[in-house]
């Protein structure tokens, strides 16, 4: 039998495209986790809010696309700040499970808000990415997926630079590595907490716009967040490199499962993978293995 390598190549490219978006959202997740040790199950819903705000400005108010993108990013940041201040800050010092449940509740609230304002019907975002078909060698890549990949790659690179060189980014890493030490060096830790949520909200908004541009938006697109959860567990909750590798890998696995087994196997493949990871290496590929002491 002649194996169709070109088909595999095309599928893999599409998978990498989705994977880059997983990696981007995973980055938002890891930013929050590193700084505040909060597992944010509502990341998918924050992404959704970003996409809907963009939709409201671009389609509802008919503003130019670049302005709408800026507005959505600002809205994402404001949402992050608001959530941190009203829900996460009061839970400081509570058990991680309680905080996790707060984010579950937050997800529910955000879904309800979107359905209340925009109804549950799926919508299409206005077209703003160029639409000419793109070929890499012989393989066809959907232009939206291609540009999505580019946006995600650029943004990830920018974020890495920010974490590396910007004062706020350094403060964030310092807080992540040792909270008490960061405090005593004069870093305003509560502000770093806010900052991490704001940054994550902004990243999520951008990811939401790209995801929405590719697949349309609806009140159930928060499901995307569950796959991102698998991504970050695969890579290790507190590892940026892990989120990147994990995102691309999960994107590939999902695309392969969808192409060779059938669409309904996508979710199954991802979650079976998750169970395997948890059994073999629960702290992920690059995560820190925490040793518990009495």
């Amino acid at each position: 039998m002649n194996f169709d390598w070109l088909f595999l190549f095309e599928i893999s490219l599409a998978g990498l495209g989705t994977g880059a978006l997983y990696a981007l959202t995973g980055l938002a997740f890891v930013t929050i986790y590193k700084a505040t040790r909060v597992v944010n199950l509502a990341i998918g819903e924050m992404l959704m809010i970003g996409a809907y705000v963009f939709f409201a400005f671009a389609a509802g108010l008919a503003l130019p696309v670049w302005l709408s993108i800026v507005a959505a990013i600002v809205a994402g940041g404001v949402l992050g700040a608001l959530v941190e201040r009203t829900m996460i800050r009061p839970m400081l010092g509570e058990s991680p499970i309680s905080v996790f449940m707060v984010t579950v509740g937050l997800g529910s609230i955000l879904v309800g808000l979107v359905e209340l304002i925009w109804t549950a019907d799926p919508r299409r975002l206005p077209e703003f990415l160029p639409n000419d078909p793109i070929f890499l060698g012989e393989a066809y890549v959907s232009p939206k997926v291609f540009y999505g990949f580019c946006v995600a790659a650029l943004l990830i690179a920018a974020m890495l630079l920010v974490f590396r060189f910007w004062r706020g980014g350094v403060a964030l890493r310092a807080t992540a590595s040792d909270q008490a030490a960061a405090y005593s060096m004069g870093i305003d830790v509560p502000r770093v907490f806010s900052l991490s949520w704001i940054v994550a909200g902004m990243i999520a908004a951008i990811a939401g716009i790209v995801v929405g541009a590719i697949g349309g938006i609806s009140s159930t697109m928060g499901i995307f967040g569950l796959t991102v959860l698998v991504v970050v567990i695969f890579g290790g909750l507190d590892s940026i490199a892990g989120a990147l590798v994990g995102g691309l890998f999960i994107g590939l696995v999902e695309a392969w499962a969808g192409a060779y087994l059938g669409g309904e196997y996508k979710v199954l493949a991802v979650f079976v993978l998750l169970v395997l990871i948890l059994m073999v290496r629960p702290y992920g590929l690059f995560g820190t293995h925490e040793i518990e002491r009495l």
């Binding site: 597992v39 829900m87 009061p90 839970m91 509570e94 991680p96 499970i97 309680s98 996790f100 449940m101 707060v102 579950v104 509740g105 937050l106 997800g107 529910s108 609230i109 955000l110 879904v111 309800g112 808000l113 979107v114 359905e115 209340l116 109804t119 549950a120 569950l226 959860l229 698998v230 567990i233 309904e264 979710v267 199954l268 979650f271 079976v272 998750l274 169970v275 948890l278 059994m279 629960p282 518990e292 009495l294």
Partner: protein
């Protein structure tokens, strides 16, 4: 004005019901439960049955999450296993309902044991996420194992019949659901007077210390999973008899979150909490319906209802966790204390 009780021995100290006053209240409660179907209308009976099912499942989750400290978001999947067991047994062999319900519990229990195996390796959030995976995998099996589960169309269930009576109305099935609910709640309450229950609590408080004290962690964690999913399976079986149709969409992830929310709102790690929480969370949508109908929204009312319900649902979880982390059970205790100590202030 009952300030305290003299408890002469350990048996009295451990008793579930510790005073004649409490016996009187419990008697009154049972009388009310028995009289309820004769005074309530169809709508209230429907709600009572639904609350009964929710109470069984929430109590099960409370054993696992509230008492053993293992967070699970797979309760709905275990319920689904139970519901499908009942549906298949009823349709193929027509075995008696009580046997079917026990079988439902056992099948779910087996599922719970399998899901519980990673619990020695991972815990806390990782475990919660593993159970999310379990619930997606279970959904896939329900939707694609056509030969047994009937695929996405699901299965219809014939009404249960008990001693020649067909339980096809809310009034009739009430007599199956409520006694079973009471029995299972009492069973759960008694569990925590035994060695096993105490071991669960020790694991919740600090699992490493518990192991040092000679509690085999894997065995007791698996046991907790087993008991909890047995409850879920029975609840799922009751669900199947009550709604008489089972589809893969009957048991979504959101239902698992519903049960977790119920025990948070009610109060984790208390028997009363699961009851209050399940009843409260089942009533909230009905209350909202009243409120939304009452607001001058006109034709929009039905359109607004579902999103508002989702928002209130989330807000309840967040609100209780921030302002009343011990839940309704704590409020209940406070009220009781007020009357016990009257005229003194607490």
């Amino acid at each position: 004005m009952r300030i305290g009780l003299a408890r002469p021995d350990y048996a009295a100290d451990e008793a579930l019901i510790d005073s004649p006053t409490q016996w009187a209240w419990v008697g009154l409660l049972f009388a009310a439960l028995a009289a309820f179907p004769f005074v309530a209308n169809e709508y209230w009976l429907y709600l009572a049955c639904l609350v009964g099912i929710h109470v069984v499942s929430a109590t099960g989750l409370n054993i696992l999450t509230g008492y053993t400290g293992l967070v699970s978001l797979g309760q709905a999947a275990f319920m689904g296993m139970g519901a499908y067991t009942v549906a298949v047994l009823q349709a193929r062999w027509g075995t008696p309902p009580l046997l079917n319900l026990v079988a439902a519990g056992v099948v779910a229990m087996t599922g719970g044991l399998v899901v519980g195996i990673p619990s020695l390796r991972v815990k806390g959030l990782y475990l919660a996420i593993a159970t999310i995976a379990a619930s997606f995998i279970a959904h896939f099996v329900f939707a694609n194992w056509n030969a047994v589960t009937g695929g996405t169309a699901g299965l219809t269930v014939a009404p249960a019949s008990f001693l020649g009576v067909t339980l096809d109305t809310s009034f009739r099935i009430y007599w199956l659901i409520v006694p079973l609910t009471v029995a299972m709640v009492v069973g759960a309450a008694n569990l925590f007077r035994t060695r096993i229950g105490r071991a669960f609590i020790a694991i919740r408080d600090r699992d490493i210390s518990a192991e040092v004290l000679g509690i085999p962690l894997l065995r007791y964690k698996l046991l907790s999973f087993a008991v909890s999913s047995f409850y879920a399976g029975v609840a799922g079986g009751l669900w199947a008899y009550f709604f008489r149709v089972v589809t893969p969409e009957s048991f979504p992830l959101i239902l698992s979150i519903f049960y977790l929310a119920a025990i948070i709102v009610g109060g984790m790690g208390t028997i009363l909490g699961a009851i209050l929480g399940a009843a409260f969370m089942a009533m909230v949508p009905e209350l909202l319906k009243l409120v939304v109908d009452w607001l001058p929204l006109g034709a929009n009312a039905t359109l607004v209802l579902s999103p508002v319900r989702t928002i209130v649902f989330g807000a309840l979880i967040v609100g209780f966790l921030i302002f009343e982390p011990n839940g309704l059970a704590e409020i209940w205790r406070r009220i009781r204390r007020f009357f016990h100590l009257y005229p003194f202030r607490t």
